[in-house]
Symmetry: C2
Subunit: 447 residues, 2 copies
């Protein structure tokens, strides 16, 4: 009875991991994150469910959950086959609800909520098609792909006709690139050595391990103290040798002049890019940073929507576009961003890490290779090696590359046991922590 399959409910779970215990994920702006997910399940009467998530770093995950639940009236009662067949309609309904739009528009909590739900619907649609999302996308015609994009506010930079031409130009090589991707995977880089809370010994050990594991690029967090950054960069360079790229990431710590000064000082250590030097809203600021010092500029994980990415490209403000699977309004908006980047010839190097972000974003980078940009040149997907064990179809990294997912869907389904154990505030992990007040962060995380 697939024809009568209907979306009956949108469930949202507040899932948090106590990662601040070990300073995993620590950087200049985020000293003690508890990696979390507002986790969405689109329940159906018959066919596959859709799962998605939005990543947060702890407090406020309940706000994301409220935002996701506010979208439920757009989902419940919707026929699953028609929803899967017209994901542009769902994306439009979620991002253009005239009352909810006031809370953005198209940014922050509501945009991330729309993204989690849109991605859950893509998971559902890909499972109905029996394909992983990257491959499901790559089966769509250029016309179908263009119809998925909301071109509102983009036409001064990219028209539907230009997008169609880009996609058609990439069409002939799809089959060959799909085969290469399955055989070779997609290049990754790793941030695991570089968290700001790690001591020098840990940094050096993890940097060596990264090279031994086959990574051609690592990333260090910077921005708290210039002398520390110099020392850590030197240690990392000594550990990895001259042939491995070392990117650095300031997590929005600086103003424009400070970015220029700091990166001029770090330039002798040959950092590959400086990521998030300043506010993600500051298009003109990024342009000034890019022209003011010699290191390439990357940003994107906190860029709110396609309109800001458009301007970063128009202004020549970035050397790398770092899409995030769960920050903008899902696959549809990321498709717009991939097309914008292709139009401007800027490589896309996705942000990942967190909870489930590697699992999700690998699909977008692989689709980009097969059907949009047509190349992996100068492109790498971020990789961080924690929390993958909570997913039933986790990413697989081999010799510094992501293996192309083969299972149907979006790879971001959490194991039922993890959903139970880490439920906040009443799952067993959090209940146990409240009874151990001597743990250093027990007060913090239960506040």
């Amino acid at each position: 009875m697939a024809g009568s399959d209907t979306l009956t409910a949108l469930d949202c779970h507040d899932i948090r991991f106590p990662t601040s215990d070990r300073l995993d994920g620590s950087d200049a702006m985020n000293p003690d994150p508890d990696y979390s997910a507002a986790y969405v399940v689109l329940r159906t009467t018959g066919g596959p469910q859709g799962h998605g998530l939005c990543f947060t770093i702890g407090r406020g995950n309940e706000v994301m959950a409220a935002a996701i639940r506010s979208l439920a009236p757009h989902l419940t009662g919707r026929p699953a086959p028609a929803t899967a067949a017209d994901l542009a309609a769902l994306h439009h309904d979620l991002t253009h609800d005239s009352q909810l739009r006031w809370l953005g528009p198209e940014k922050g909590v509501m945009q991330m909520a729309a993204g989690a739900v849109v991605n859950a619907a893509w998971d559902l649609a890909a499972r109905r098609a029996g394909l992983p999302v990257w491959q499901f996308l790559a089966t769509l015609t250029p016309e179908e792909l263009v119809s998925l994009v909301d071109f509102r506010y983009l036409s001064d930079a990219l028209t539907p006709g230009e997008a169609l031409a880009l996609l058609r130009a990439a069409e002939p090589g799809r089959a060959e690139r799909t085969a290469r991707l399955k055989a070779e995977g997609y290049p990754a880089y790793t941030t695991s050595p570089g968290w700001l809370g790690y001591d020098d010994r840990t940094l050096v050990r993890l940097a060596r391990e990264a090279v031994a594991a086959g990574f051609g690029q690592i990333k260090l967090k910077v921005g708290a103290n210039l002398d520390d950054d110099r020392r850590r960069l030197r240690l990392a360079r000594d550990a990895v040798g001259p042939g491995v790229r070392i990117a650095v990431d300031a997590n929005q710590r600086w103003d424009v002049a400070e970015s220029v000064r700091w990166m001029t000082a770090l330039a002798p250590y040959a950092p590959y890019w400086i990521e998030e030097p300043t506010s993600p809203d500051d298009v003109l600021g990024h342009a000034a940073v890019r022209s003011g010092q010699p290191v390439k500029v990357a940003t994107g994980e906190h860029i709110a929507n396609r309109v800001v990415f458009k301007q970063l490209l128009q202004a020549g403000a970035v050397d790398f576009v770092q899409i995030d699977a769960a920050r903008v309004a899902g696959v549809n908006e990321n498709l717009a961003i991939l097309l914008l980047a292709a139009k401007y010839g800027v490589p896309v190097c996705p942000h990942a890490g967190g909870v489930g972000l590697c699992e999700l974003v690998q699909h977008l980078a692989m689709f980009d290779y097969v059907a949009v940009s047509g190349t992996r040149e100068d492109r790498v997907i971020e990789y961080v090696d924690h929390l993958h064990d909570h997913f039933s179809d986790p990413v697989v990294i081999e010799r510094g590359r992501y293996r192309a997912p083969a299972a149907p869907g979006f790879s971001a389904r959490m194991k039922p046991a993890s959903l139970t154990a880490y439920r906040f505030p009443d799952g067993p992990v959090w209940r146990a922590r409240r009874t151990q007040p001597d743990r250093p962060d027990a007060q913090e995380v239960t506040a």
Copy 2:
């Protein structure tokens, strides 16, 4: 025992008015708003409470309430006198919570939530001082005012030293301008005639009434249909005569090229400004619209933070800066924006209307006149004439001007009876509507 006065709780009320019944507030992007407020009360053990609010247009008001409640741990237990004496510290704690910041950063739901709480704290502080907020601000020294501003990401456009110089230059005239403000009020314009859902007869009648009431400027909503816009502009011009300014407002309806085309077509009717021609995130787009057609450009009610305002000014993208009291992170962030506008010599014409926005923003414009820009030239505060009766100290408009508030606080305290009656979803007004399913919007508003 004022010395022991402590903040004991942050209450948040979900208040909604069924304004969609009459198409009050209707425009090209918001066809049927139900004007709403996530209303904050900072409760104390002894001294005055602090009240604040965030305006929404209906659905999603519960998400705002969740966001406001997520800030409660920063408030409860805080000494009221110390909080009132260091509002920069509170503003910083709310906008730089390292985990909550991920949900923005500094934009959308979380930024509006911070704004509601910050403004409630300003209400509390001004009441402790026995002054209306505008006058309380105008008693602060230039050094104290500069210390209230978060200059992060601003230094390429405005340094603390430049801000101090601006404020010192305006200091000598404060007493004289305060006296003039009390005697003369502050110029207003009215949007009441121009909602898109009103028929021509209503438009003409209300336009004539506005002129008769002393307004020197009105505003019409545009952007749904060019022929309609032409006809409505002509009717309005005939009704008000050549000496009254008619601004138009597209509420983000257009892309860049469409903005230019549409406003070129409307230019013969001499609109005073075009407001929100396109996405509020599109700095470069606004610059292109401003240079591409002859009508002056205004925006701001949906600008997420000081960083985007900074760029609009750096890029020469706007002729008028339209601050909103409840969109950014409260008085502190609006103080940054007023200083930026003063530095660039761009007039501030605040957005208002909604629920309580007139009550709040009048204080900021009046403070700007007394202590920042020092002028009312080319400046007007928006005025819309509904929902004021729910406030205990509502705005007073006389001969097209806002009268300077005299009562202590921020003027945005709702009457207890209104808080009870319009509570969503369980207040008597909403309960009654659910039992009258033949009302056209009953389904909609209870969805």
